[in-house]
């Protein structure tokens, strides 16, 4: 009985890891599409987002099945409830990557190179997502806490992007729409960073049993 439960828990872990990997891939492709101005890549992000949504349903079903059939307690219960919360954040990451991809199609092949902070943001958020998934895979609380710290960097970068874009609009008012698109992209990256933080916090919860509330 227990070994069957263990098997199901291992399966849940695998599916979560795969879903995390898909999220990583989605933002990696989205930021590549942005930096190369390659509109063709955005289709890939959209289809990945579909897959991520599908995956969310699958994992949700599995979690509910486990909760109902096995009635887990203590650590197992934490793991499953944390998984339920994490997939929501992962799904948001996927959707926001898709949103970024959608905006890229409006940029007419421009890559946002005028504002290099966006590239830094993309890299920083990608690193955050990768680290949060790594923290989950390795059940590494220290790594999860660094993800939380990294969020400050991304937030700071977002402010810099904002300042740079204000300057850009002031210098070249005709590029106003473009600048706003870039701001939206930056905002999405910033949101993705927040979701990565959430994931990391749920990792901490599933290991230690304490959740220190969402950071703004």
């Amino acid at each position: 009985m227990r070994s069957r439960f263990d098997e199901q828990l291992a399966m849940l872990n695998n599916e979560l890891t795969q879903m995390g990997a898909m999220c990583e891939e989605a933002i990696a492709i989205a930021s590549k599409a942005l930096s190369m101005g390659d509109v063709k890549l955005t289709d890939k992000v959209l289809s990945l987002d579909g897959e991520i949504n599908q995956m969310e349903r699958t994992i949700e079903t599995l979690c509910l099945k486990l909760l109902l059939q096995q009635q887990p307690v203590a650590r197992d219960l934490r793991q499953i409830s944390a998984a339920l919360k994490m997939i929501t954040d992962m799904e948001r990451i996927g959707t926001q990557a898709a949103d970024i991809a959608e905006i890229i199609t409006f940029l007419d092949g421009r890559t946002g190179e005028e504002c290099e902070y966006i590239r830094f943001m993309a890299e920083a958020t990608m690193q955050m997502v990768t680290e949060s998934i790594d923290a989950f895979v390795k059940q590494d609380i220290v790594l999860a806490k660094t993800v939380v710290d990294h969020d400050d960097i991304v937030d700071h970068l977002f402010m810099q992007v904002k300042t740079a874009l204000i300057k850009m609009i002031a210098e070249n008012p005709t590029d106003g729409g473009y600048a706003l698109d870039l701001l939206m992209i930056a905002k999405y990256f910033e949101r993705i960073g927040d979701h990565a933080v959430n994931i990391a916090e749920w990792v901490v919860f599933s290991v230690t049993g304490t959740h220190k509330g969402k950071l703004g």
């Binding site: 291992a10 695998n14 890891t17 795969q18 990997a21 990583e24 891939e25 998934i133 895979v137």
Partner: protein, 548 residues
Amino acid sequence: MTKKIFRSIMIVALAILMASIVIIMGCLYRYFSDVQERQLEDELTLAATGVEKSGQEYLEDLQSRQYRLTWVADNGTVLYDTFSDEKSMENHADRIEIQEAMQNSKGKSTRYSTTLLEKTLYYAQRLKDGSVLRISVKSVTIWVLVLGMMQPIMIVLVVAFILSGVLASRISKHIMEPLDCLDLEKPLENDTYEELAPLLNRINKQRRQIDLQLSELQRKNDEFTQITRSMTEGLVLLNENNIILSINPAALSLFRAERSCKGKDFLTIERSHDVSNAVQSALRNGHSEIRIEREGKEYQLHVNRIESNGAVIGAVVLAFDRTEAAFAERNRKEFTANVSHELKTPLQSIMGSAELIENGLVKTEDMPRFVGHIRTEAERLLTLIEDIIRLSRLDEENEMPFEDVDLYEVADEVVSRLKNIAAAKNIEISIVGESVYIKSVKQLLTETIFNLCDNAIKYNRDGGIVAVSVNRMKDKAVVSVKDSGIGISPEHQAKIFERFYRVDKSRSKESGGTGLGLSIVKHAVQHLNGKIDLQSKVGEGTTIQVSF
């Protein structure tokens, strides 16, 4: 063990108890019955005498509670009975003992009560007048005796039960103690029952066999670990559930994993979608290949299914570093594209000029210019082809004999060959140094120094200098070519040894270079096991130092 011993003890105890009871009871009962019978007979004889003498009065006077006396007439009517009223009693003529007595003067019989708990012993004797006197006594049967003894027997049984239990556990403990203390590591050194010797011998034999197999297994395992450890390719063994069974250091560093990942899911160290798909497809179809990029390096992953007796038992992932191969491939493609482009340009120029001449569009006075143009372009083509041939010869690494060569002599020869060309460009070329003999290939050395000096002259400024020096530094022979030319900026420095690379593309035609000179130098020096050092500052000049 305890149970068995207990059972045997119990059975023995029971059997002995039963046997003793049966034998003792049987003997005693028989003895007492005999005594009783004899007594009865005596009593009867006495009573008969009494009755014959004083008739009924004797009987009436007789007060016996144990014995019952019945006087029966010769027709069977009861005349008197000491226990009950004779009138109510039936005719006794049919009783066995009475009949026997009437015929043989004495008779006897035994009758049991319906419950078998009581028996009545009868003795009869014929009196002189023909009547019969009968005596009877009631006694209990053997069963009643046994029943009476039931309580002590039960107590004995309970005691036997407890005793045999205690005894059994004591004995079994006693037997097992040396067995428990057996040292199975050294079975033959145990001091225990000799009955165990064959068993210990067998254990010893098996132990030796196990040790042998274990060491064999260990050896094979060590071999495997040694081989996989020194492999530069990454190797991961997975079972059918994707769990890592074995992973070598190369794979650990490729996937940036730690040793502890053994026994975990492959997903925990490599979760990219493509790789997990490749593993799944290998488990399904037997084989798959995939290229991945890690930290700027390119790897090719081969995933193969492992089968045993037709069942899938896992997969093996083999990772090759393809960075260099991919780089070489890219280089070759670039080279082919460059060669065709470089060959096409002069040819097109020649074609154009020839077409103009053919169509008579060239005036007679312009003819020498056009023909000269064709000749220079053809010459360019020729040098280019010569360079390519030279390069490909170096690529093929034909056997060129190493001989003792004086580096200074070679350099001096080159310098004197280039003196005129340098002078035409108003450049001063000089050589200093000493004779240094090295084992080398003269032709390649000449080519190397020639190309270096040629470049130094080509990319120089008016009135510049080219200084060649040959000397020995420590155990190395060093030739350096220094110019006061235009210099090479840092971003170009790494690339100038690539084929067809030119710092300034617009100047190539003017200087007449093919873009292969430094590439030839690089290959030649590589072939001669030398090393190239480049120092350059834009606007100040370049020093290229070759050490062998």
